[in-house]
């Protein structure tokens, strides 16, 4: 029996899908096309194809400093989120403590809460503690907000984990530390790599929390934001295009990696 006859399929469904894909990709396509447009952003049809904006971009130190800052923040935030998010997932999976339900909700809160609330609250904390705003405060902000990602991903991984392996390791005389490093973590590696990638990209793109915690050094989104307020140039299209290409490459690599690891697991 074909599925097509049991639930409604109408001829407009594929068209609806096509229109939505058009809607989703229109701004991205525009962005890329106009990064090569000699006469600036906007104006139809695009004319005077040029690499001028890319040359300008490569000579633009402020942008590259902010890219470096963003990379630094993303790696540091990843370290914090993973080193607290993995234990948090383990705790939710295998420990009982008072307030566990509340703890779970609290950890997940920054993910669903508008970033402005988390950003402001942390700003008040740093002010109360007399901490000067800098890249460090942004790292702490991102690290804390993104613990939620590490915890959900790793918790999902733990649900599929066979506890007998850990039990066997403990029975065979390994201590908890050895079991954690040699049995638990390797089994969770896919969830952890997935979480790390997600944390990395979310941090690279984060702006609402950073907006309030920024010191003198800009992250890339804040640098772009500052420029947008002064007026728009295709240089922003150019940097966005480059980042888009890198993200695409990262996704493809990740899927290849996962596909390969999954076949490894089967073998």
């Amino acid at each position: 029996m074909s599925r097509e006859r049991t639930v409604p399929a109408s001829r407009w469904l594929p068209w609806h899908a096509a229109i939505i894909f058009g809607f989703l990709y229109l701004p991205i396509a525009t962005l890329i096309v106009y990064s090569f447009n000699g006469s600036g952003v906007g104006g139809f049809p695009p004319r005077d194809l040029t690499l001028h904006w890319y040359r300008l971009l490569f000579a633009d130190d402020a942008i590259w400093t902010s890219v470096l800052n963003s990379l630094l923040v993303a790696f540091a935030a990843m370290a914090i989120s993973l080193s607290f998010g993995i234990p948090a997932a383990l705790a939710l999976d295998r420990a009982n403590f008072p307030g566990k339900v509340l703890f779970r909700r609290l950890v997940l809160l920054p993910l669903i809460l508008p970033g402005i609330i988390t950003g402001l609250s942390l700003l008040m904390l740093f002010r109360a503690a007399d901490t000067k705003l800098s890249l460090l405060t942004i790292v702490l902000g991102h690290g804390t907000a993104l613990i939620s990602v590490a915890t959900t991903e790793v918790f999902a991984g733990l649900q599929k984990l066979d506890r007998a392996q850990e039990e066997a390791s403990l029975d065979l005389g390994a201590n908890y530390r050895q079991t954690f490093w040699h049995v638990t973590l390797p089994n969770l590696r896919l969830s952890i790599i997935g979480a790390a990638l997600l944390i990395f990209t979310l941090s690279m793109d984060e702006i609402a929390v950073s907006f309030f915690l920024i010191g003198r050094d800009n992250t890339l989104p804040l640098e772009i934001w500052g420029r947008l307020r002064r007026g728009i140039t295709p240089e922003i299209n150019a940097i966005s295009t480059i980042i888009f290409v890198f993200s695409l490459a990262a996704i493809v690599t990740w899927y290849r990696l996962r596909a390969r690891t999954e076949t490894d697991l089967v073998l």
Binding site: M1, R3, R5, T6, V7, P8, L13, P14, H16, A17, I20, F21, F23, L24, Y25, L26, P27, I28, T30, L31, Y34, G42, G43, F44, F84, P87, L90, A91, R94, A95, F97, F103, V107, P110, I112, L113, P114, G115, I116, I117, T118, L120, S121, L122, M124, L140, T144, E167, Y176, M204, D205, I207, A208, W225, L228, I232, I236, S240, L248, I251
Partner: protein, 281 residues
């Protein structure tokens, strides 16, 4: 099987971190909302309900809050109208659904800010759309209602949150056992009856999750309104930002943020209890 020491080692560090960097800050936000600013711009640490009273009495605050909720509601509805049929098509009919699924996800990898900016370059008075319309002689003057309006904000936020609405709906549709659909068909239901009485009710938890995401995240947005909203597209978070910046009234800003926080928590609670009611497991 796990010793006390092990359980302590996995529980205490995250608990401490979350307390210092989440519980304390949210509590501080709550405290600030009762404080005030003196004429010498110092924070006065004595409690009163003055900020909340202002919130209710000064029109611009609650009106902006209502407008933000209206913008968020429209974003929620449009994201679902776009996301649900797409998820349904992918889950039940599309041939290459893995690929199409990835195609929905990929735009999420383009910076949120950059996508808002791209819409600005499309909608502006000398932007891509207006020059295109003039190029094909559909209009002779740029349409200036496109940018700097609530329309531009709703359009941009819908673009950003459609994948967020799509994902939970798609997950819910994928979980529907296909033999339920076949059973319904075998028992004589027409395709549309099957959809309305089997598929749709089973997808409601996903719809609720998607709706919550789209509403809550667009409610607190302040960058899209600043970039594309113009004076008539200002949202509540823009007021908060200015209270924390130039206007320098942190306590009032905190009171508004706390109301937003309470509203969001109430919505999460509501959607969760509705989800429980509608899940058949």
């Amino acid at each position: 099987m796990f010793s006390r020491a092990y359980r302590a080692a996995i529980t205490v560090p995250p608990l401490l971190w979350v307390t210092v960097f989440l519980v304390v800050p949210y509590a501080l936000l709550f405290c600030y909302s009762f404080w005030s600013v003196s004429s010498s711009q110092a924070i006065v640490h004595s409690g009163s309900l003055e900020n909340y009273r202002q919130l209710l009495q000064v029109n611009v605050y609650w009106q902006t809050l209502l407008r933000s909720m209206w913008i968020a509601a429209r974003v929620m509805i449009f994201s679902l109208l776009l996301g649900y049929p797409l998820a349904y098509y992918l889950s039940f009919h599309a041939r290459r659904k893995e690929l199409l699924y990835q195609l929905v996800i990929i735009p999420l990898w383009v910076s949120y800010l950059v996508r808002a900016y791209a819409w600005k370059t499309i909608l502006g008075s000398d932007g891509v759309l207006n020059t295109l319309l003039q190029y094909v002689h559909l209009t002779s003057h740029p349409l200036d209602f496109l940018l700097y309006s609530p329309f531009a904000v709703v359009l941009t936020l819908t673009h950003i949150y459609t994948p967020f609405a799509f994902l939970p709906v798609y997950a819910a549709l994928e979980q529907i056992p296909r033999n339920l659909v076949e059973a319904s068909h075998d028992l004589g239901a027409s395709p549309f009856q099957t959809f309305w009485r089997v598929v749709f009710p089973l997808s409601i938890p996903g719809v609720l999750a998607g709706a919550t995401f789209a509403f809550v995240l667009s409610l607190g947005d302040f960058l899209a309104p600043l970039l594309l909203g113009g004076p008539s597209g200002i949202m509540i978070s823009n007021i908060v930002v200015s209270l924390f910046g130039a206007a320098y009234n942190w306590p009032l800003g905190a009171a508004i943020s706390f109301c937003m926080l309470a509203l969001v928590l109430a919505l999460l609670f509501l959607s969760e209890s509705l989800e429980k009611k509608w899940s058949f497991r």
